[in-house]
Amino acid sequence: MGDKPPGFRGSRDWIGCVEASLCLAHFGGPQGRLCHVPRGVGLHGELERLYSHFAGGGGPVMVGGDADARSKALLGVCVGSGTEAYVLVLDPHYWGTPKSPSELQAAGWVGWQEVSAAFDPKSFYNLCLTSLSSQQQQRTLD
């Protein structure tokens, strides 16, 4: 895509949600909108946006950070009474024969996590919210 210098290929330099969103645009995939969550702020401030994203048919949300660089994707959000809030977290490292949803959940590859526990206050995060364009949505309906 030309966004990295020539020596990047074959190197051990890192990429994240920014590069993922550029790839989606370059290869004609779902749209990926980036949302930055500053260090110390936590995800509570973005829960309403995440809720609207999923309620509006949005796709998985890729998550990357700095102090917390563990890959994860968000598949849903649940806001309880008071300050309780949970996110449905997918670990994208699974590989091999597809298992049933219950087997994946039992093994910890996907599950609900309390927002404060899932996100490190010492890390900033970039979220990549994926969604189909209206043209792509029409193609899936045809």
């Binding site: 969103s21 370059h26 909108r33 890959s71």
Partner: protein, 79 residues
């Protein structure tokens, strides 16, 4: 649409050297102004669209406008 580039010429030099401004140049300058490391920063629009630094500043201006944001680049997984 043909690409538009900003060609900046130093007219005080009789050789009239010029530079073509890329988005990377703009990012580096802006990052320096904010004391943010350019190598670990990225540029996005106000509504979250990532900007490929291979484009020219002119192309970005035409497609995305002039209001942009710098965010730190994140890591995903581990090497």
């Amino acid at each position: 649409m043909s690409k538009v580039s900003f060609k900046i010429m130093l007219t005080s030099d009789t050789q009239l050297p010029y530079k073509v401004l890329s988005v990377l140049s703009v990012l580096k300058f802006a990052a320096e102004e904010f004391k943010a490391p350019a190598a670990t920063s990225a540029v996005i629009t106000n509504d979250g669209i990532g900007i490929n630094l291979a484009q020219t500043a002119g192309n970005v201006f035409l497609k995305q406008g002039s209001e942009l944001r710098i965010i730190p680049r994140d890591h995903v997984g581990s090497c």
